[in-house]
Symmetry: C2
Subunit: 255 residues, 2 copies
């Protein structure tokens, strides 16, 4: 069975999509077969991997409603070992289209299990929207681990409480095996007191792993959002590529 990792945070813009794309690409580069799943109607994972969300044959919405199997919707990206179950902006409407009463929150898990998709990959990485709604809950039901990109931001740190509350709720209601893999500090500029103080303040958070890898702010990770190319392919010798390769190494040691 593929190891599931869902990138989540209540806070927006912390680097969920960027981390999903680049951790996946770094794992794929090491020969792991990786499926990425775009659970966000913004479809940034989809466009971030070079596809146009407005031109897809089928997508996650079709899979959840039953118009397509996961296998039919999955596409190979340009990079070896890196596949994608894409999203379109119509994903917003999916929840309302579903008949009520059904096991709505486990539709994604069931769809990935039903046609053997989960077993076919070494890793399954889920990108989630910046909230704890229907699509994030579906990802929490399907995944094994939660990875929390933690931006150097007062708002993001304050929001941790609600992230952990949502994870605990999903564990008790939907997925007893669900674990927090850890937090990945993002937008870390060690030349500022702010990042230093925030990081040292985090060290006291009981029981949560904080990865050693610190993702620095870098224009290259802005550029990739437009280019639709993972950093390990876009700028293989960059600090950002090295950081995400280091993160992949750290993740492989603990899953």
């Amino acid at each position: 069975m593929g190891i599931g990792i869902a990138c989540m945070s209540g806070k927006g813009g912390v680097g969920k999509t960027t981390t999903t794309i680049n951790l996946a690409a770094a794992l794929a580069e090491r020969g792991r077969l990786v499926l990425t799943v775009d659970c966000d109607p913004q479809s940034n994972l989809t466009s971030g991997l070079g596809l146009n969300p407005y031109e897809l044959r089928s997508s996650l919405g079709d899979v959840l409603i039953g118009r397509a199997t996961a296998g039919q919707a999955i596409v190979a990206t340009e990079w070896a070992n890196l596949h994608l179950l894409p999203a379109t902006p119509d994903l917003t409407a999916t929840e309302a289209e579903l008949p009520s009463g059904l096991h709505r929150e486990t539709l994604l898990r069931d769809a990935l299990d039903r046609d053997g998709t989960s077993a076919a990959y070494d890793f399954i990485l889920y990108d989630t929207p910046p909230n704890f709604g229907f699509h994030t809950v579906n990802a929490l039901a399907a995944t094994n681990y939660v990875l929390i990109p933690l931006q150097m931001s007062g708002f993001a740190v304050r929001g941790l409480k609600e992230v952990l509350r949502a994870v605990n709720l999903a564990r008790s209601r939907l997925n007893p095996e669900l674990q927090v893999l850890g937090m990945v500090p993002t937008f870390v500029n060690l030349r500022t007191n702010f990042s230093q103080q925030l990081l040292s303040g985090l060290a006291d958070l009981a029981g949560l792993r904080i990865f050693q890898t610190l993702i620095p702010p870098t224009v290259k990770l802005q550029e990739t959002s437009l280019a639709g190319v993972p950093i390990v392919a876009y700028a293989p010798a960059s600090k950002a590529a090295a950081a995400y390769r280091q993160l992949a190494e750290e993740v492989l040691q603990v899953v």
Copy 2:
């Protein structure tokens, strides 16, 4: 009647809350009486103005459900002329608590009109969550203008199409007077080609005003998210304070 401005974007982390707080504070500094309304369960506007969302007597959720009037929930902040209708994380649950069938999407507008709140202020600034759901729609129904913070990001620029679609939908169904005030470029670093190219690409977007004010990336606007203080008070002589004062000046010329 107070002039309504709602900060919105589908994309997360683009500077909606930061722009709401600092534009409001810059207007208040000029003697305008400003109400800010926190429509986001993350409650970042509330904590960003120095209040603890977990310790509030009443909040937007109470107002929408009818347990409190807007006037009862509104608090004065530490800064003259700057008031807040706060939020708590429980705001997530509000939509589900409402009886169906009622004019759910105009509950906020009705609550602000009913007790004369809208008429009591010169400006009402709404902070919205990073989606087009219930709370954002309520803000779109209540406001006169939409202000779109535009982060220098491929994902944010691609997301504009969905923002404008949501605005057009709200105009046709709920609020015929709704106008897009314009876009405020955020996280703009003119020393990078990326920002320069993105900005020049935007100039071609038909019919949308792009404010001259460019908000630079600055650690001071990270610090304020933790301090809970507007930039014009936190660092009055900073570039960031000057930028938001300039934005206030530009906004006053066009509303």
